[in-house]
Amino acid sequence: MNGSKFPIHDALGRKTGLIDRHILIVSGLSLLLYFILPFRTLPTEILVFALGAVSFNILLGYTGLLSFGQGAFFGSGAYTAGLLLIHFHWHPLLILLLSAFLAASIAAVIGFLSIRQVGIYFVMLTLAFNQLVYFIVYQWKSLTGGDDGLLNIARPDLSVLPGLAVPLQTNFQFFIFVWAIFIVVLVVIRRITDSPFGRILVAIRENPDRGRAVGYNIFHYKLLAFIISGFFTGLAGGLYTLFLKMVPITAVDIITSSDFVIMSLVGGTRSLYGPILGAAIIKIASEFLSQIWSRWMIVLGLIFVSFVLFMRGGLWGLLLNLHKKLFAPKMEGEGRL
């Protein structure tokens, strides 16, 4: 590049193509979920929540924004998909796209209003807006079904050509559908985070004042991050509706927002893949451990607390360190944000 003796990729990481071995490994492992787990619907649920967690982590892990109100976007996407499926019989991909766009629009508004504040004020604003959306959904019974949610939603097949449709009715068929979308979205999000835009988000997390001082309009970038996160969270919400064939009010609840926070932190906020691991671990543990000990979440809470105190890299960070210790320590740049 300029005749200097050290390799650029030591300092900046290596350039990756859209699809590389990391994506292939994640694709393979997530596909394997269906065959390893003894539950037929859990793998799909894992992928849906993994998508939501990865989208959330764009805000926390990359940009440093602790958005405690992702449920507003997840729920918006879910309810949009639900209503569209009930009243129209459009193509599921179109419905997912519309759900994502609506969630992104709501994220734009909430983001625009919230980003002006920092720290605790920002967090509480996202909470307040989430609660606002929740109670509006709760009270607007005629539209959303209130406490009962939207029920009896039919899951359409995926029409490819006039007359030819890919069925999505069995657990396996729908899982493959979700898996395919999950991988595509993961590739897209990874490219976004590896792009110049993504690097600026990291700069914002590290030192927003310096970002401003070198010429970045930090507000714009934060807002775009919000919109992108909202888009993919809404997409996850739409998938959730297709998955459950109903929309529970919990989709828009703070509980869902907390889920994404917990999954990301346990899995590891310092990488793209951490939240995926977190979603899988927590959903699986939830299924198995809750049968052994109904209060298993005490353990989860303790793990969460110790991760916040000592292991910000989460489980993924742990695995990465293990990998480095076992094999030759190579600075690959992957996993390092």
Partner: protein, 291 residues
Amino acid sequence: MNAGLILVQLLNGITLGAIYVLVAVGLTIVFGMLNIINFAHGSLYALGAYFAFMVATVIGESSGSFWAAAVVAPVLTGIFGAIIEITLLRRMYHELHEYQILLTFGVAMVLQEIIILVWGTYGKSIPMPSQLDGVIHLGLFTFPTYRIFLILFTAVTCLGLWLMIEKTKYGSIIRAGTENRNMVSCLGIDINKVFTVIFALGVGMAGLAGALSLPMRGAQSAMGDSIMLLCFVTITIGGLGSFTGAILGGLIVGIVESMMALVWPQGGMISIFAAMALVILVKPTGLMGLK
């Protein structure tokens, strides 16, 4: 809709507000002095209620059981808080707000589950203390004695707390500690102890609120979560770190919640959170907060 009904609802609102005030004052003291937002504050309110239940049940049916509970529960909660501060929070004072929030959020998660583990998922309650059972006649209507007691007790407690912070030597140490930790340490005062005491005090207030609300509202496993959010609204409206703001905010939230039930029942929560968002947008430091 008559004047009597409105007045009753207003008093109900003030009663609710009193509980919110106690909880919010605790949270705001901790924020104002330690610069930490304790997401576990609601769980400690719940813990106070359950401690009170435990004490009252242990002592058994006697007219003194409530009073004993009302004294012991906040103390137990405060001790619990001190343990949390010493073992966990102390490490986080220099960290970003985000990680402090996440830590206390995790603590809340654990506490919530521990409460269910120990006391189960069914609601608990204790009977009203006999001295306060019954109603007071206030002209147009009657109003439960206990609620009047609650309002007055809160007022006295807040006054006492304010006096302690503003007028006593210990209070001045506390106030100085928030402005300049290092200076206070240089004066030979153990700043760590001061912070532990403040945290225990703040958390004790939440425990007190929980204990006092037990005969009136009972204790449920989810009570921590719901009061946490309302508490956030309260201190946001009143101003983070502001004592008078917590009082003002608590009363506003309680009264709005109560009056909305008369006027627009569905809109109660919506109005409250919309108000919170509005305050953060327009004047983030709250009504009583500093510029």
